[in-house]
């Protein structure tokens, strides 16, 4: 399982589109033709702020993720890294 360093900068893959839905969001990767569903609006907020937040941890904090919830969001982000939806951002 690839680990996601919360203290580094991340972003959505440039070929990924995000479509908000009442329950969360749909992510579609035009390169891999994969679809993922975010079942949570908070995760959508995290994912949407990755590009501007200095680190993934900042993106989570900014979206209101508590310290206790952090591991769960980290795991979700790791899954997105595995499917190339989220990639590391050069700073």
């Amino acid at each position: 399982m690839p680990t996601l360093d919360l203290d580094r900068a991340w972003d959505l893959h440039p070929k990924v589109s995000v479509r908000p839905e009442p329950f969360g969001a749909l992510l579609y990767h035009f390169g891999t033709r994969r679809l993922s569903f975010l079942k949570d609006r908070t995760l959508l907020a995290v994912v949407s702020s990755l590009a501007t937040a200095p680190t993934a941890r900042d993106a989570c904090t900014g979206a209101g993720v508590s310290e206790a919830e952090l591991p769960r969001y980290q795991r979700a982000l790791e899954t997105l890294v595995r499917s190339s939806m989220v990639v590391e951002r050069a700073v």
Binding site: R19, Y28, T32, L35, T79, S83
Partner: protein, 453 residues
């Protein structure tokens, strides 16, 4: 709970844990835009498959113009419909087909198109292989010419195989071979898989629906109970890498649920835009009963999707009716609405192919008239080739009237009766130069989504 779900097709992956909200539960209330949209571009077709869902053959003079079609694509882009499944008819015989494909991909709307292969020349295959945003699905309903051509018409097997050879030669790995499972080809599943492997393609199996002309041949061609079991066992064993478009969720009542949403997506995550712009709840439901509106009306497609009375009605948990007491209702959900409707069964009861046998029982109780069961009539125009319809009336074993138009196969000579077809399918084709597609991912955005794609 997990925070996200990947819907890429991965058969064998563990189902969601019991206490999590399943996607299926979220989707029952519908989405802001479809995940899986089928768009039939034309009713014109060079073939006359006996089970055609859309009773295609002849072009409809009211079909959307190039500009209107582009307007629909603009809307799909605004709604973030990432992917459309283009079909027909035979979509590639539309003279503006490639122009529309280019327009869609330039507007962040990916395309997977279904074709009988008639226009997939080596040159077309070459260009397709170079686009990330376009996927191809070749229809094949028999692993041998004998079985295939009996349903799809003389010469259609050779046409499909030639298209696959061209795609393979061009290096287009992972295109789809789409098979409608019938009583005549269930015994060929291994052979289909071998064909897919031979051409570096991915096999896709879907269910025969009693829709369109399919209603006329359903009794003859739908798999027997024993064949359904054979299919289920085969899917459990070989499901890895085989797409089903979530077609077979009614088979879940054999035991474990098959991978997929197991949900009727009609009007919730799926819909159909037909060649004249009519919007139906699903590709298997071309009937006024399932007509939600038209893209030409004020507000366009988005208005229909968001506010049509029919779709709002469909976006509620399904009423199991007679199926409520069945132990398998949670995964089977009573099966396919269109299958019930077109065989004349009530929508809140079992699927005609219910593997517990309840559907077969119910079929026996249907009202009869003129020696056959009473099925829904429709005032929607039948676009079948007229000669084919006449030739097939009252036949037992189905024989297809030869209607493969000479000259179309090599894309050089337009048929005389189809003046709107340009001689070359390459007119206006200018695919972007994105990296060659090496993806073998599910071509359809819905993956195992609850749709017919």
């Amino acid at each position: 709970m997990t925070l996200l779900d990947a819907l890429s097709f991965a058969p064998g992956t563990a189902p969601a844990k019991k206490n999590e909200p399943r996607l299926v539960d979220l989707f029952e209330y519908g989405l802001d835009a479809p995940i899986c949209l089928t768009w039939e571009l034309t009713y014109a077709c060079n073939l006359s498959c006996v089970h055609c869902l859309s009773s295609s053959g002849r072009r409809d003079p009211r079909e959307l113009s190039t500009d209107e079609a582009k307007g629909v694509i603009d809307e799909l882009q605004r709604m973030q419909v990432f992917y459309v499944n283009i079909g027909g008819g035979e979509p590639t015989v539309r003279p503006d087909f490639w122009e529309l494909v280019d327009y869609a991909t330039a507007h962040q709307v990916g395309v997977k198109f279904s074709t009988n292969g008639v226009k997939i020349s080596p040159q077309v295959a070459e260009r397709l292989a170079n686009s990330d945003y376009v996927d191809v699905q070749i229809s094949l309903d028999g692993a041998t010419a004998e079985v295939n051509d009996h349903v799809r018409g003389p010469g259609s097997y050779a046409t499909a195989i030639r298209a696959m050879e061209n795609l393979k030669a061009a290096g287009f790995a992972g295109f789809k071979i789409s098979v409608v499972c019938t009583s005549q080809n269930i015994g060929q599943l291994d052979e289909f898989k071998a064909i897919a492997d031979r051409y570096d393609a991915q096999l896709r199996l879907t269910r025969l629906r009693p829709s369109g002309r399919g209603a006329d041949v359903w009794e003859e061609l739908h798999p027997t109970q024993a064949q359904q079991r054979e299919l289920y066992d085969w899917l459990v064993l070989h499901g890895e890498g085989v797409l089903t478009g979530d077609s077979f969720f009614h088979l879940s009542a054999f035991g474990d649920a098959l991978p997929g949403l197991n949900l009727c997506g009609a009007g919730r995550v799926v819909c159909l835009i037909d060649p004249v712009g009519d919007v139906y709840a699903c590709p298997f439901a071309i009937h006024e009963e399932f007509l939600a509106g038209n893209v030409r009306s004020p507000g366009g497609f988005q208005e229909v999707w968001k506010h049509s009375e029919l779709f709002l009605k469909l976006r509620n948990p399904q009423n199991g009716g007679a199926c409520n007491s069945c132990a398998f209702f949670d995964t089977c959900k009573g099966g396919c609405m269109a299958a019930k409707f077109f065989t004349g069964l009530p929508l809140d009861g079992p699927d005609p192919e219910c593997v517990q046998g309840y559907g077969a029982e119910l079929l026996k109780t249907r009202k009869e008239k003129d020696g056959g069961p009473v099925r829904p009539v429709s005032s929607i125009v039948d676009h079948s080739h007229k000669t084919t319809r006449e030739g097939r009336s009252g036949l037992g074993p189905v024989r297809v009237t030869l209607s493969l138009r000479p000259g179309l196969a090599d894309g050089t000579t337009p048929p005389a009766n189809d003046a709107e077809c340009e001689p070359s399918p390459l007119a206006g084709l200018s695919f972007d130069t994105s990296p060659p597609s090496s993806s073998t991912e599910s071509g359809c955005a819905c993956g195992p989504g609850s749709c017919g794609c």
